[in-house]
């Protein structure tokens, strides 16, 4: 229902009473501004935490081995522990339903040579699932697959920066490079959000590496992605169980962290999740407090305003205004002021957040602070509702005063 005359009345009333309109708007604008800033900054903190773990899959686990630090079953301290295909397959069979992705990893450092360009690179020998655990993004060609592994193919997937170093802008896919003396076919080029170091590496099949460099079945690490269906606690329990089982299998002391450990993203996530949850709870508490204070502020002003206008309402009623038209006018005015003021606060807050941008990332761990559209939508609903309530209750009361009483008011 759009009533141009109603709007004219409202703008006239706002315009003729600028100070009080600005005052009531200011309360709301300020409350929303504070709310936006608070929320934005906490979301910035949350972004920092998330991006710190963004490089790898959120459900990733890592089995790492080194030297024993405790004697066990007559075996000495300082014994070097070596993972092999046996453990890899044991994990695969034992926990099949708890695992989404699984890969072995062998670290090598070789020179890669193409024509006259030559450089030293970290090379990871892996299984195909590695792509999902490392969140590798394929730009050209493809990643390693099962038949590469079976055939122990001499194929290589190189990082964006490796390609840049060796090929510049020229085509690299399908070319052959010399890796530590052997010729490898480039089947893919990838990028990674983990930064430059993650893009200056290359991947080859784990089976190829085992055959060519040592002719054994050793592996450096086992990487897993636990089943996303598991909740955090179940995932943590799974990590502990696998750690115990592997230590037992490899004759390691049950508490020997140094010899074999399972690094579990679920534990880190749980900590961060609890921390962020607490932070958001505080922000919501403080933020709603600010909003409520703003709403109470505008309600107070509206009560005052309506008292001041009681006589005017009396005149209007004597001239034939229905109570509903008076309530409607006041409510519409109040909603208009709160909405406009609220959006001013919101825009100013968002603008300040954009100004802050990433400038606080280094010192305060606040990255790209912003408010989500849902928050904006929620704030709008709260604003309109508060304008409605702030206007409606006192206006309803004023409109029901008998005109004779209202006319007597000063």
């Amino acid at each position: 229902m759009f009533d141009i005359d109603r709007w004219r009345e409202i703008f006239q009333s706002i315009n003729k009473n600028r100070l009080r309109s600005v005052m009531s708007g200011f309360t709301v604008a300020f409350a929303i501004l504070l709310f936006t800033l608070l929320f934005g900054i906490v979301s910035g903190l949350s972004n920092s935490f998330n991006s710190a773990f963004n490089d790898d899959a959120k459900n990733s686990m890592k089995v790492r081995v080194w030297k024993t630090s405790k004697p066990y079953k007559g075996l000495q301290t300082g014994r070097r522990i070596q993972l092999s295909n046996e453990e890899y397959n044991y994990v695969k069979d034992e926990y099949a339903n708890k695992i989404e992705y699984q890969t072995a990893r062998i670290y090598k450092n070789f020179t890669i040579k193409f024509k006259n360009e030559v450089n030293n690179y970290n090379i990871r020998a892996v299984n195909p699932d590695h792509q999902f655990l490392e969140k590798t993004i394929i730009d050209e060609g493809r990643y390693l697959n099962e038949s590469d592994l079976k055939g122990k193919s001499k194929v290589i997937v190189i990082g964006r920066l490796v390609k840049k170093d060796l090929f510049g802008e020229k085509q690299a896919l399908g070319k052959r490079v010399n890796v530590n003396g052997s010729s490898f076919l480039i089947i893919g080029i990838f990028s990674d959000e983990g930064g430059d170091n993650e893009e200056r590496i290359a991947y080859i099949p784990v089976s190829t590496a085992q055959m060519m460099y040592g002719n054994n079945d050793h592996i450096s690490q086992i990487l897993l992605g636990y089943n996303p269906g598991l909740n955090l606690n179940a995932a943590i329990a799974f990590g502990h169980k696998m750690e115990r089982d592997l230590r037992k299998k490899m004759n390691i002391h049950p508490d020997d962290q140094s010899a074999l450990s399972v690094q579990n993203m679920a534990e880190a996530n749980k900590g961060v999740g609890m921390f962020m949850g607490a932070l958001y709870a505080i922000v919501i508490l403080v933020g709603s407090g600010t909003l409520i204070a703003g709403i109470i502020g505008i309600s107070n002003i509206m009560i005052f305003v309506i008292k001041e206008r009681t006589k005017e309402f009396g005149i209007r009623k004597a001239l034939g205004a229905k109570p509903a038209s008076i309530v409607g006018m006041v409510v519409q005015e109040s909603v208009l002021i709160t909405t406009i003021a609220g959006y001013l606060g919101l825009s100013l807050g968002t603008y300040i957040l954009t100004l802050i941008g990433d400038s606080l990332e280094e010192d305060y761990f606040i990255k790209d602070p912003s408010v989500s559209p849902i928050i904006v939508l929620g704030a709008t609903v709260v604003l309109v509702a508060s304008g409605l309530i702030a206007g409606y209750l006192p206006a309803k009361k004023a409109a029901n005063i008998k005109p004779i009483v209202a006319l007597r008011a000063d």
């Binding site: 141009i4 005359d5 004219r8 009345e9 006239q12 009333s13 003729k16 009473n17 006589k311 005017e312 009396g314 005149i315 209007r316 009623k317 004597a318 001239l319 034939g320 205004a321 229905k322 109570p323 509903a324 038209s325 409109a399 029901n400 008998k402 005109p403 004779i404 006319l407």
Partner: protein
């Protein structure tokens, strides 16, 4: 036009009730120019408020334009006021942030008339009260007499059946009072019923019928020389 029978009204004051109108019988025909006289506290303003549907009576019957007024809610009362009644108040009661023209046009807004149309009509009525040149002035830029003329234009703009004037000259000096009374006479001559409340004999003498009220009862009801002259 207005028919009142055995009308009673009392106001509660603490535990007691103040009995203001004690059985008023009054019949005003269409086109009459009536004044209600009485000292303060005689109940004359209460009577006008009830006639003007600004207040409710306790007992008795009130017919406005043949319609029994009973159990009106605010909405119905607002419609009837807009349709049948025009008000002129002692303190003018203009809306301070609206110009003379907008004040006059306001009742037409509540009648549902379009803006263009109602501004034309309002200007017509301002012209009638001789204030066309002051149309865009705010009330505080007008003299008392001018304000009251704006108020009269506002009361007339909906072409009501009855104009109710509560001490219309109470806040004016004698010259401007006469001008306002002349205006009301003109209105009456055009056939509109005019109902004036006053405590000034000279004002009442200019109407055609004087009803005197004392302590909530009518003590006299007679035609004036003006009426007899016609």
């Amino acid at each position: 036009m207005i028919k009142i029978e055995k009308l009673h009204k009392s106001y509660p004051i603490g535990k007691d009730a103040l009995h203001v109108l004690k059985g008023i019988n009054l019949h005003i025909k269409e086109g009459e120019f009536v004044s209600i006289m009485g000292s303060s506290g005689s109940g004359k303003s209460t009577l006008l408020n009830i006639v003007g549907l600004l207040d409710e009576h306790d007992e008795g019957d009130y017919f406005l334009n043949g319609q029994l007024i009973k159990n009106l809610n605010e909405k119905k009362a607002a419609i009837l006021r807009n349709k049948f009644l025009g008000f002129v108040f002692q303190s003018f009661n203009l809306i301070s942030y609206k110009t003379a023209l907008e004040n006059v046009a306001l009742p037409l807004y509540y009648k549902g008339m379009k803006r263009k149309e109602r501004l034309i009509v309002a200007m017509d009525y301002l012209d009638k009260v001789g204030l066309k040149d002051w149309a865009n002035h705010l009330p505080n830029e007008l003299s008392g007499g001018q304000k009251q003329r704006v108020a009269i234009a506002r009361a007339l703009v909906t072409k009501p059946k009855v104009v109710l004037a509560d001490e219309p000259t109470g806040a004016l000096d004698s010259t401007t009072s006469d001008a306002v009374m002349d205006l009301l006479k003109d209105i009456n001559n055009e056939g509109m019923t005019v109902f004036v409340i006053t405590h000034e004999e000279e004002i009442a003498a200019q109407t055609s019928r004087i009803v005197r009220l004392k302590d909530g009862v009518i003590i006299s009801d007679e035609l004036t020389k003006v009426a007899k002259a016609i």
